[in-house]
């Protein structure tokens, strides 16, 4: 647990968009999926997850619909909009540029 890192500010949006690109998910599942896929390396704080979801929805990149969760409860499922898909591509490209740059700096100094 103590090895987990809080998701970097700014990358949370990217991770959320990427996660729900596959299928619509509700908030808890998104957090779990990010944790699982990152081999428990990344932890999503609830305190930033929901504001981020609402912000993304507000910006029109994701939409929310009520659906039934895996344990048969009403849950808000978030899915990508068309604009969200474009945004995801842009964010991915931006992240790749950034991480490549950071890596270069780390390797060459």
């Amino acid at each position: 647990m103590s090895d987990q890192t809080d998701v970097l500010q700014g990358t949370l949006d990217l991770l959320i968009l990427r996660t729900i690109a596959l299928e619509p998910m509700h908030g808890w599942a998104i957090a779990q999926r990010i944790q699982q896929i990152s081999d428990e390396q990344l932890r999503v704080a609830q305190g930033s997850l929901y504001p981020a979801l609402h912000r993304l929805e507000h910006q029109g990149w994701i939409t929310a619909d009520w659906g039934t969760s895996e344990n048969n409860r009403r849950a808000r499922f978030y899915s990508l909009t068309k604009a969200g898909r474009k945004q995801l591509e842009a964010e991915v490209a931006k992240w790749e540029r950034l991480s490549a740059g950071v890596n270069l700096v780390l390797q060459r100094t």
Binding site: P51, Q59, G60, S69, A83
Partner: protein, 906 residues
Amino acid sequence: MRLFHILQSRLRSILFRDRRESDLDEELQLHLDREIERLEATGLSHEQARLQALRAFGGVEQIKEAARDARGTGAWDALVRDTRQGLRRLVRDWRFTTAAVLILGLAIGANTAIFSVVNAVLFRKQAFADPDRLVNIYQNDRTGRPLVVTSYAAYKEIAEYPDVFASTMAGSIPNPGRYLHEGAVRDGVVEFATATYLDVLGLRPSLGRWFDQSEERPGAPLVAVVGYQAWTRLFRADPSLVGRVIKIEGRPVTIIGIGPANHRGTLDVGLGTDFWLPITAVPSIFPGFAPRDVPTIFVPLFVKARLRDGVTVSQAKAAMDVLGRRLAAENPEAFRIEGEFSLGPGMTVVPSTDVRIHPQADKPLMAIASLVLVVVGLVLAIACSNLATLLLVRGATRAKEVSVRLAMGATRRQLVRHLLSESVLLSLAGGIAGCIVASWGMRALQQIDLPFRLDFTVDYRVLAFAIAVSLVTGVVFGLAPALKATRVDLVQTLRDEGLQPIDHRRLTLKNALIVFQVAISVLLLGGTSIFLQMTAAARALRIGYAVDGVAMLETDLRFASYSDADARRVYDDLLRRIQAVPGVQSAALLRGLPMGPNSVQIVVDGASDQKGVEAVVFAAGPGFFDTLRIPLLYGRVFDARDRADTPHVAVITDRMARLYFGSVDAVGRRFRIQNNPNSWTEVIGVVRDTGTGDFEDDVLDPIGPPFYNSYTQTGAQPTTVMARTSGDAASLVAAMQRELRAVDVTLPVVTAQTMAQKLENAQAAPKGIATLFGALGGLGLVLASIGLYAVVAFAVARRSREIGIRMALGARSQQVVWSIAQGVAGLIGVGTGIGLVLLVLLILVMRAGSGSADIGIGNLTVYRPSIDPLALLTIAAVTALVGVAAAFVPGRRAALMDPLVALRHD
């Protein structure tokens, strides 16, 4: 698409705020539950899992807040929250809120009403096309100043300058005229104009057409254009009015069009013109306007012309001066205007945009209007300063609350926003109250019974003005106390070392304001008493006759087309029938309303001075003096002996007998009308002078002494029947109307009322003014007492700790009240004193004025009030009482304070 989503989500979050909240709750709850399930699956007990999940989750409220902010509705929520809190607080402090809304409402209302009137008279721009090319043309008097009006003959000459003016027009001043509508005779405003009238102004009739040149020829069938306002109000905008025939002053007139919606008449000063007729219709509508046998029409005209392209105002002026000199040389008498105006050779040409009413009248009117606006603005300023004081008092008592909030982490911005929202709410409520007060005020103004119908409406600019005033007021007086309240020294206030030095300068200013307000209230109440004095004076003057049990009925035979001989028979028939009504003791016919005077110059037989003296003649018939119970002192009154073929006789008043005949018993003496050498009239009786009952004639501007002649001898038609009953005058009015219908159902009732009502109506204007002053005085008093209250409350709040110490040390409550009362009594005393001195000065100035003041367009008659010590005493006592009462409330609170509470007081 994205924009749509954003809009949708924002709208949804604002509109479905509650659902959004419950959605958020449900979403977070699900998260928590799933987390607990997950932890349970790792082997923890339910309780352990729940605790751990909650711990990891963090503050639910913070997350919610952050989620709300992310949606961009945070500002909205804050606004809603501030508004709610503000409302709640205002409801809790309902006493303060009522006072504040009352102050603002009254001040804004008074402002809006008076601004509307001033706006209607002076600032409403007329909607003329290309107004820069329009000029007004006036004939000058001998001193070279433009006269009020221009004669028709002069207008015709002015119209003969096509190289200077592209077109010229003339419109008469508005005249009161009667017309028949739905079986009733109504008072309207009639204006005469040339066929070119609308074209020169660049306006179009909104329906039908304007009269043309052929209809302007003398003898053409009578046509009229109805004013747009009259059309919409009286005729419910019925388009079929065009083509109908309406009787105006008894003459059938065909309606050919409806005037432009944006034009109310030549003199747009609150009166809208109801009918426009061709200028040549003057002799047939108002035969009395052309008493002399002259070819021109003597109706005062306003002349406007459109300059030909390339012609300047000064060129037009030069051309008109040449014309003026020529007219003066050729035939000065023909270009004289009926009345007392002396014509000079010059002419005045001014751009129409520079003139509101008349070049000579605009300046004094503007001065009066600015004065009124300044006074009303002062009332608003006082109201605002009072409110600021009130808010300061609240701020002082809330200093602790503010510091607690600051200590708890509220930002200054939040606090200011919160306090500001309160005052904006207050001023909005005040603005609404002001609109209500204003519309009441306007309605009250329009209720005043006048021959003209004044047309004041609260227009949108005035409304905007009121709202702007209320908002600016709110922000200004809200921000100052709010900023002051937040600049509290935290440690100091929390430690409650409440004895901060009092800001003496601020208090002095406040005291000065209170003194000023008390003085102004005294002055306004003094104005009320002066007008009440005037009404009482008028009432005292008509003690001469008894109005109880007297009823009158006026009809107008011109609206029923009778010949003169038939008309006399109709009246005699009506008189016989009314005399036969049970209970009627006496009845009489007369011409004009009872007490409707007519000023004449008379020459007394044998008098050395043949120049003529002024007297006032009333046309009365047999039975007149009995009906009004006017005591006969000498000789006899009119009876059947006085016929058209017998020598003319008159009944004079004792005032006239004393003034012009040297003794009260003037029976047998003779006099004549000055400009008619064959009008020798013998005095057959002397009655007591009763005044006319008309306020202006009797009190403001006393005219010559009255005498009576008989309509049976002068050949004039009676118009009115008057009767005295032993029973109820009101039921006699109904009986008289029944008899009129029995004589001829088509005869219109012009007025039917009891004599008491008639006299009451004649007093409406001064009474209205007295009421207005009374209301303003009351308003001033209310404002001043709120100011007093606020100042005392402020002082008490500041001194509560000191009061507590004094009481703890054994001071009695009376002593505490006394120490507070001293300061207040001083303020009230000084204010009342200044007000009384100002009031006496005002009365002295009014008395010094020789009964009239020249305001440039004629004389403004001024009543000469007397100094009434009882009234002054009453005013001073009322002011002092109200002031003391206002100060008593917070003073008593201080005196009743528990010393322990007072010591702990923040």
